[in-house]
Symmetry: C2
């Protein structure tokens, strides 16, 4: 049984304004919730009897637990097809410490708008062992339900920061990479183990201000090189190809 | 001015059943329509006076042209925010000729469900000069409006076929590649210029039947290799990384 007030609070977290106010976000489904719980204790867990029976130990860390009927879960969920469990998680307050980036590869996002792309990029960061993702203030909110659901467990392992991106890039003392149509063939360039890979907005690419701070302009060649094809790759796909190439160099 | 019957016909193309019946699909927006028109003549063009003024010559090839008000365009469009032009295009009838795949790299999709992923994969194929994309019958419909809009001009340059995938893979006489968690490190394998790259469903990967027909099992290593990360990359991202690596070998 869950109160109307509790449902209203959870539903409000669909909006950024309330996520900021309550410092909380919603994660749904047994797979995602199961991946997040080992990393942090939920403020609130709303689950069917069936889920609770099978995951009793995991539920113990929760601030509040509500055993609900399928019908109540449907009224609480932000998804069209809710699946057995919903967790309200705390949004960690993070301050970017530039020294933590030293010796490492990081990703910076300059106005990535689509929450699905942002979630996919977080999974890429996680896959390639990239711990820090620095987002411009115009980038989508990682705690948007659509992004949370597409991030999966990456949300627990990758640290996401929202900062004025040009300030950060001016202060870091390491190579800043970006992809441009007139950049240099990534396969012919030296790619170090330390640096920041900047990826831009879906329609407009990297903004002029940030582009000025990119010290190494790269390009993923199309095939045959220079032929007439699609103008650009999807931003998440480009991020994947660039990160894979950086890591290939490090492993080889 | 456009008739109610015409609007109804266009609206019906949102559904696969009617796209199959009328052998037609809808493409919207000046950018996408502008990319498609040089490749084939639209059955019908619905545009604002403004668009027609600037693109009169392109409109000449259309079977029917309707100059409409913004309000009429809104009533006709399948999008939430229609943009100055909408084209009804003919769906080409294609029969896969296996000899056309010889000496080339092709992509096969085994149950890719999300139209956005399918569109993104078509852009990847286009970028990397892959002409043929062979879809299992369970793969999303490339003429779904969401897919069309995310394909952009790739839809005109890449040929998409729907076939019983196992039959095709049994008949082709070339290597069939697929990515699996227990596959071999793609960076340590020889990658030829001829072959078919199979990508699987978002949740379940490559089906058992198709997996049996994969002759070369590959794996995109995570970093550090073998560490605990996200279980898998998004299917479009994985397609991008695999295709980039095949083409890198060919260029180098």
């Amino acid at each position: 049984m869950i109160s109307k007030a509790r449902i209203k609070w959870i539903k409000s977290l669909e909006m950024r304004k309330y996520r900021l106010q309550y410092k909380a976000f919603v994660a749904e489904g047994p797979k995602l919730v199961g991946e997040l719980l080992p990393y942090s204790a939920p403020l609130c867990l709303v689950a069917t009897q069936d889920w609770l029976k099978r995951n009793g130990r995991q539920a113990e860390s929760a601030g509040e637990v509500y055993e609900v009927s399928q019908e109540e879960l449907e009224r609480t969920s932000l998804l069209r097809t809710p699946q057995s469990v919903l967790a309200v998680m705390h949004i960690p307050e993070r301050r970017l410490d530039l020294t933590a980036l030293q010796g490492k590869l990081s990703i910076a996002l300059d106005g990535v708008q689509d929450p699905g792309n942002l979630g996919t990029i977080l999974r890429i960061a996680d896959w390639f062992g990239i711990r820090h993702v620095i987002c411009s203030e115009g980038t989508a909110d990682v705690y948007n339900p659509k992004c949370v659901q597409s991030c999966m467990g990456a949300l627990a392992r990758v640290e996401v920061y929202y900062c004025p991106l040009p300030e950060v890039l001016r202060e870091v003392r390491m190579p800043v990479f970006g992809t441009f149509l007139d950049g240099k063939d990534i396969y012919a360039e030296e790619l170090p183990a330390e640096g920041i890979i900047v990826m831009g907005n879906e329609g407009n690419g990297i903004s002029t201000e940030v582009a000025r701070l990119v010290s190494r302009r790269l390009y993923v060649p199309n095939f045959p090189k220079g032929s007439l094809t699609t103008e650009s790759l999807n931003v998440a796909v480009a991020t994947g190809i660039v990160c894979a190439e950086f890591r290939r160099r490090q492993q080889s």
